[in-house]
Amino acid sequence: MRLYPLLFLLLLIAAALAVLVGSGDLTDPELRDTFLKLRGYRLAAAFLAGAALAVGGVVVQGLFRNPLASPSVLGTTAGASFGGQVALLAYGLTGAGSSFIVPEMIVPIGCFVGALGALAVLLLFLRITHDLLALLLTGFVLSALFLSLSAFVTSVAQETWELGRAVVSFSLGSVSGTGPRQLSFALPLIGLALVASWFWGRSLDLLLSGEEEAQSMGANVGAARWWSAIWVSVLVAGAVSVGGNVGFVGLVVPHMLRPFAGTKHQRLIPAAALAGGIFLVSCDVVARLIPSRSEIPLGVVTGLIGAPLFLLLLIRLRRERAYA
């Protein structure tokens, strides 16, 4: 079966399940519309976040020529996550928050501010040094820094039960409770970054041969690196703002696709957007299916499904060698 018809079919199945599966009773005529609406938002949020994270994964894996890179290597994921947590904490502690911002928009805006802060540091270092390894190390240090800051926020938030719960639940990732405002904030940003990533696809193809060869073939390596960092940051900030910190999507989905979609980025990126969306929507369905007192966090499900899937892929790839 051809790749795109298969992906669209899978998307249709996942979307149908996402609408039909859940604890609410759809036969109740009074509540049906509300349930359908909530599940629709949830479906959209999961799809957007999955698409953004998968494409972010494709771009950083191309940029670093490393199949083990995930969009979080740039440190902007941890930055976005920290920003979201600080926003939650500030809102919780001050009670009302700022009168300029609608309460449900506080977290998404916090995510973007956090991601932009991390990105600014990253780009500053890119200006000083032109070394790819330095970029990777800066991203690593930024991640470590923001993770410890996040841990601090989490510990402060523990002082009140409600706030502690909210901060922990956000950091584990969830698309439940995502509303139309968050979606309409994240959609244009993620959409723009997806298209922009596709445009850089040809440069990323050249970068697969290393920076020197890429430059000798006419690629503007500095610009490709600079803009890739920016668009990946926008993608993860958008994903975190609608889905919290969800791991493994950016790592697993590009790997699953390469044997079918090939390595060329302009073919891989649209396929990854679709497949990432399908993957996260399906994980969200699984999260609702697992019997539990409260719902299993989405980030836990992606890890539980993603990790064994990734190991299976590795074994298969080793066997085929070609895609190692």
Binding site: R65, D205, L208, E213, M217
Partner: protein, 263 residues
């Protein structure tokens, strides 16, 4: 040569390169003409590869490099790559791209940001694959090829760009005698098609058999420059390498007329 930038030669004047505070190349002058193969010779560390990379615009340099009389420095990366194509000794590519996809990368300089391939692109790729005798490898995965096959594909990638000037960094290193001979014959074919070729070579016998003119480097300076026969001769070779050159001392090889080109 396919229609492209036309027949262009390359000229460098007082070219100097400093890497990490160390002067690696000092006031190098060179000229390369269409239809001619220029060899860059010298012991390890003499600055041959550095010179080649500077000419390709991959390293910052002082001095001036002209192509067809026009300064190379103000050109964008992409415009420069349309005129000069650089072939590394080995590619760092590790991803599972097919040979055809690798050669198609050479067309980047002519395309926009959109993915599609024009008829001109396809023709250039077919022509490049045929010239490099890599047609039969088209659907193979690049990383699974032998070193010699990879070298021919890298040459095809350079040819696909339609650049009139080709810079080759030790194209026969690590190749067996048959593979090396195929690459050297290809170099002569390209010269016959009016490409301008500058080739770093280690093997002085290969330089004598394949190149027209040579530039002998030591410690980043030009020691001798001229017809390869004169450069690879007793005096300069003794001065630079500390060895005595013995004419016709080694066993030689030539292509077997009954064996088809390797594919």
């Amino acid at each position: 040569m396919r229609k492209g930038e036309g027949h262009l030669g390359l000229r460098a004047r007082s070219l100097s390169v400093t890497l990490g505070g160390r002067r690696v190349l000092r006031d190098v002058d060179l000229e390369a003409h269409p239809g001619e193969v220029l060899a860059l010779l010298g012991p390890n560390g003499a600055g041959k590869s550095t010179l080649l990379k500077a000419l390709a615009g991959l390293l910052p340099y002082k001095g001036r490099v002209d192509i067809g009389g026009a300064d190379l420095a103000p050109l964008s990366t992409r415009k420069r790559a349309r005129r000069i194509s650089y072939v590394p000794q080995r590619s760092l590519l590790q991803s599972a791209l097919s040979v055809e996809e690798v050669v198609a990368l050479g067309r980047y300089v002519h395309g926009g940001s959109f993915g599609g391939m024009s008829r001109g692109d396809k023709e250039a790729i077919d022509h490049a694959l045929a010239t490099a005798h890599a047609d039969a490898l088209r659907d193979r995965i690049f990383t699974q090829l032998s070193v010699g096959e990879q070298q021919r594909v890298l040459l095809a990638r350079a040819l696909a760009s339609d650049a009139p000037i080709l810079l080759l960094d030790e194209p026969t290193a690590a190749l067996d005698v048959g593979e090396a001979m195929a690459v050297l014959r290809l170099i002569r074919t390209l010269a016959a098609r009016k490409h301008t070729l500058i080739v770093v070579l280690h093997d002085l016998a290969d330089a004598r058999s394949t190149t027209d003119r040579a530039l002998l480097l030591r410690d980043g300076c030009v020691v001798e420059q001229g017809d390869t026969r004169d450069v690879v001769s007793a005096e300069p070779i003794r001065a630079v390498y500390g060895v005595r050159l013995i004419e016709n001392a080694r066993i030689g090889f030539e292509p077997d007329s009954e064996t088809p080109n390797p594919e």
